[in-house]
Amino acid sequence: MRATHPDRSGQVERDGVRLGYEMFGRGEPTFLLLPTWTIVHTRFWKMQVPYLARHYRVVTYDGPGNGLSDRVTDPERYSVESYAADAVAVLDACGIERVVAVGLSRGAQYATRLAATYPERVMGVALIGPAMSLTAPLIERADIADKFDQPYPDNPQGWDKYNLAYWHDHYRDFVEFFFSQVFSEPHSTKPFEDAVRWALETGPEILEAERNGPDPDVPDLEIFDRVKCPVLTIHGAGDRIQSHRVGEAAARLSKGPLVSMIGTGHMPNVRDPVRVNLALRDFAEGLAR
């Protein structure tokens, strides 16, 4: 059973794509928990929703390609601009004016675009383990982009598996490898199982389409100039996907606070949910209404 069930749920259609959303609670302000990489769906917020919904209204939705949304293979639907437009469509459908937008990993790109493009809809942005092009990538991931479309080696190891052909041939093995890196904390069996299961609700053809999506109109390094609301960044110092330096850069560029979580990996909201929940609440309480 889920800890909290939505007060309202449904699908909103934008340009022919149906997006599943859920709404919880009734307090102010509203938290919009954004999607992230399509490899998981909205249930990755399951440790935030019950707590936040006791104090605030919470809206979650799935982006195209996983969860309660259509499985879209058109790369155009995976641009950051499209994600921002999806978010606005969901807010309109829910009748919500302004939100605190929370983005995990790639979701940080959507949250910042949303705030930059629709400033009247966003009163605050929280970035968790942001995956943004703000620094050089981690050394072990430095060449994955170059090798992505190449044939993968025999007996691939580690980040060799971040490879299009490998995804199609051994999707589950890639997923298991990836989440073994996401959850760098010991004793993460349950979060790992959850994430793998969510990943298996979509597939390599969807991730391929997403991967082929267009580059953002505004590079990550410039987006913070356009974000006028307060920004909180939370980053695990043990993050093996996105270096803690990315979080540091996001905090520096946004001139906002940084919560550094020592010993925490790429999904602090899953692995250290109590601290993240309290930080999100502190952030919301400190925002001018």
Binding site: E185, L232, G263, T264, F283
Partner: protein, 706 residues
């Protein structure tokens, strides 16, 4: 001493009535604290000012009729209108465009007036036990006595003292009755004494005028209630539910009318700022933070399992003995728990000892109010009434506790060790929800004991303090995870805690573990004695007499008396060499001189001199006398007059070891001092041995909690 002093204080002249104000702190916003005058003045905020001023700017005002303000006796001079203009004048004089107004009791009526007449000057209102007209049920004693205000009543008693004639002719009786009724919480002796003493700073005439002036200009019920509902400021109401001045339903109704937040303090009476200062401090701070929307700041959080084990040590700065023994315990603890990181929250002079040993001192230590300076300020001549001095240290202990709690809330400590950290022990029992981590309490005496000169009243007070401590531990055994008595069961003074209270020894044996005494050093062997004497320049043929009063400023009188005895003693013992140590707080050049007498200021590692001397003349403090006991040296000790610990606890312990010669300062003239020196110097003594493993034993007890 106060815990903090204002950085600005002055008066504004209001048509010939001076209104005194004080300004503390530099934060934002400004809090304007208004006392219900003239029955009291700004010192009612003494428990709040030190803490609030660390976070905000605080302006306190003495309302007309008390404190350092004027004492007008006309009722019209105490009207709401007059008081309102006083407040505006103070805001203007302090350059305060707007403030969060904190008011108690009927001062809330003036706060309402201020927010109504000058809404731009009031950012928010904290209404404590609000005495605003009409709301809720009035207390029957006010209703019953009001019609008789102007009558002359024969032998009035109780609430019938609430009468112009009674108040103007029997001021003190009314005040004592009134505050006796208000402090419904047990063990409120200090709060009661404070409240009465502040009320006695004004006269019955002024009090009566204040009562009558309050009613001037109070509108009808409908208008007043409309004023409350129209207040357009965030409001927090704090109200004790056993308040018999302003019924709690008045506070509840005020919160409803203003749409404000409500904190009902269950079990509390009319004076929550004095009686529940921790809760009130925290509630005000949270409220102000909330309305100001405090932005988040950057922080580092470490996963639980990635954390190093951390301990916070608190070492009492009253007397230097704690520093050395706590350092010894900490060093033993590190041997047992090499991964344990120890930080210290401590103040001068403890920090000097810790810094020299390379210990890590928490930066918040800088904020602590000085307990040793307070103790020094309480001493006069060879006298320190340490029980009353501790009681009068209440606001300093509270101020330091609030700092401690903030450090603890942010520090992820697994363990706190408080060596006579009275503030933590007391306020954690009073606010048990604030405890974090494991806690070790250490002390070398248990039980406040009355000095004979204090008579029955002091016996009542010490018993009340002891009873409160016994009740604390019985109700919340989880606060002290371990209680360590630095000594042995035989050291406990053979008495009871008070009438109908347990024997100190029985109770202590039940509630404490015993570490044995902790000297913090190993006394020299006989060979070493000769070696050290040679190093220190003491000839084997000389009879070395060290006179020391430790690190405190309390001791000049004793030094002077012993110095005066020197020529007589020298005559009796020609090989006598007297070395007087003034310590860091007494200027050695200010002491009288004698030919042949040596006077030093600071002496490095004084314990080495004491361990090899032929006689020491000291005060009655535990640390120095026990060092001499451990080193098997003869010594004369003069307990400070009226110091219960030195006169009872320490003396009893020394008797257990058969150590030292007790001397009474008042009755011992210099010639008698000289005779005692002559009799004792160089005497072979065989005291019971002092254990050398006390620090190890204490560390083992603490380590079990890590």
């Amino acid at each position: 001493m106060r815990a903090v002093y204002p950085h600005q204080e002055a008066e504004v002249d209001r048509d010939g009535v001076e209104i005194h104000y004080e300004v503390f702190g530099e934060g934002h916003p400004t809090l304007l604290l208004i006392p219900p005058s003239p029955i009291t003045h700004s010192r009612i905020w003494k428990g709040l000012v030190p803490n609030l001023a660390r976070h905000f700017r605080v302006v306190t005002v003495d309302g007309r009729g008390n404190g350092k303000s004027g004492r007008p006796t006309g009722p019209e001079e105490h009207s709401q209108e007059q008081t309102l203009d006083d407040l505006v004048a103070v805001l203007d004089a302090t350059g305060t465009p707007s403030a969060v107004v904190v008011a108690h009791c009927h001062a809330n009526w003036w706060a309402v007036a201020l927010a109504t007449a000058h809404p731009e000057r009031v950012e928010a209102l904290v209404a404590i036990e609000p005495g605003v007209p009409y709301l809720g049920t009035p207390q029957p004693h006010w209703v019953e006595t009001a019609p008789h205000w102007d009558e002359i009543i024969e032998n009035p008693a109780g609430w019938r003292l609430n009468n112009r004639h009674a108040i103007t002719t029997q001021h003190r009786r009314w005040i004592e009755f009134f505050f006796g009724q208000q402090l419904v919480e047990p063990h409120s002796t200090k709060q009661y004494e404070d409240a009465v003493s502040w009320a006695l700073e004004t006269t019955g005439e002024v009090l009566a005028a204040g009562e009558e002036g309050f009613d001037i200009g109070v509108p009808d019920r409908e208008t007043a209630e409309k004023m409350y509902r129209s207040l357009d400021v965030p409001t927090l109401v704090i109200h004790g539910d056993r308040d018999i001045c302003q019924n709690v339903d008045r506070g509840v109704a005020f919160a409803e009318a203003t749409g404000g937040d409500l904190l009902v303090v269950e079990g509390a009476g009319h004076l929550t700022p004095a009686r529940e200062p921790v809760k009130v401090n925290r509630a005000i701070r949270e409220f102000v933070d909330k309305i100001k929307g405090v932005p988040m700041s950057s922080q580092v959080w470490t996963r639980g399992m990635d954390r190093r084990k951390r301990a916070l040590f608190l070492s009492s700065p009253i007397g230097l003995g704690h520093a050395r023994r706590d350092l010894a315990v900490a060093q033993e603890l590190k041997k047992l728990e090499p991964d344990l990181e120890i930080e210290w929250l401590a103040q001068h002079p403890v920090t000097a000892v810790l810094a020299a040993a390379g210990e890590k001192i928490h930066p918040a230590s800088e904020w602590l109010s000085s307990e040793s300076a307070h103790m020094a300020s309480e001493a006069a001549g060879h006298e320190l009434h340490c029980f009353q001095a501790l009681r009068r240290m209440d606001e300093i202990l509270l101020a330091n506790f609030m700092i401690f709690q903030e450090v603890l809330d942010e520090g992820n400590y697994d363990l706190t060790v408080g060596d006579e950290a009275w503030d933590v022990d007391y306020y954690w029992h009073e606010n048990p929800e604030l405890k974090r981590g494991s806690h070790v309490w250490m002390t070398d005496f248990v039980g406040y004991l009355p000095m004979p000169e204090g008579g029955d009243h002091e016996a009542y007070l010490t018993a009340d303090y002891n009873a409160e401590m016994i009740e604390h531990i019985a109700r919340f055994p989880r606060i002290r995870d371990r209680a360590i008595f630095v000594g042995n069961a035989d050291d406990i003074y053979p008495d009871v805690f008070g009438p109908d209270l347990p024997k100190i020894r029985d109770w202590t044996e039940e509630h404490f573990d015993f570490s044995g005494y902790i000297t913090g050093f190993t006394p020299p062997t006989e060979d070493q004695v000769a070696e050290w004497r040679a190093e220190l320049g003491y000839d084997p043929e000389e009879k070395i007499c060290i006179v020391t009063v430790g690190g405190s400023g309390v001791g000049r009188d004793l030094l002077e008396r012993v110095i005066a005895s020197y020529p007589m003693a020298k005559e009796k013992v020609p090989e006598l060499r007297m070395v007087a140590v003034a310590g860091p707080r007494i200027d050695p050049d200010s002491l009288p001189t004698q030919p042949g007498l040596e006077v030093h200021g600071y002496v490095d590692r004084l314990y080495r001199h004491l361990s090899v001397c032929d006689l020491a003349v000291v005060q009655g403090g535990l640390t120095t006398t026990m060092e001499l006991t451990a080193a098997q040296r003869p010594f004369l000790y003069f307990p400070l007059h009226n110091h219960f610990e030195q006169n009872f606890h320490v003396r009893h312990r020394l008797d257990q070891y058969g150590a030292g010669r007790h001397m009474d300062y008042r009755s011992t003239e210099p010639d008698a001092v000289a005779s005692a020196i002559a009799a004792e110097v160089g005497r072979q003594v065989t005291y019971d041995k002092v254990e050398t493993d006390g620090a190890q034993r204490a560390a083992r007890m603490i380590a079990e909690l890590v």
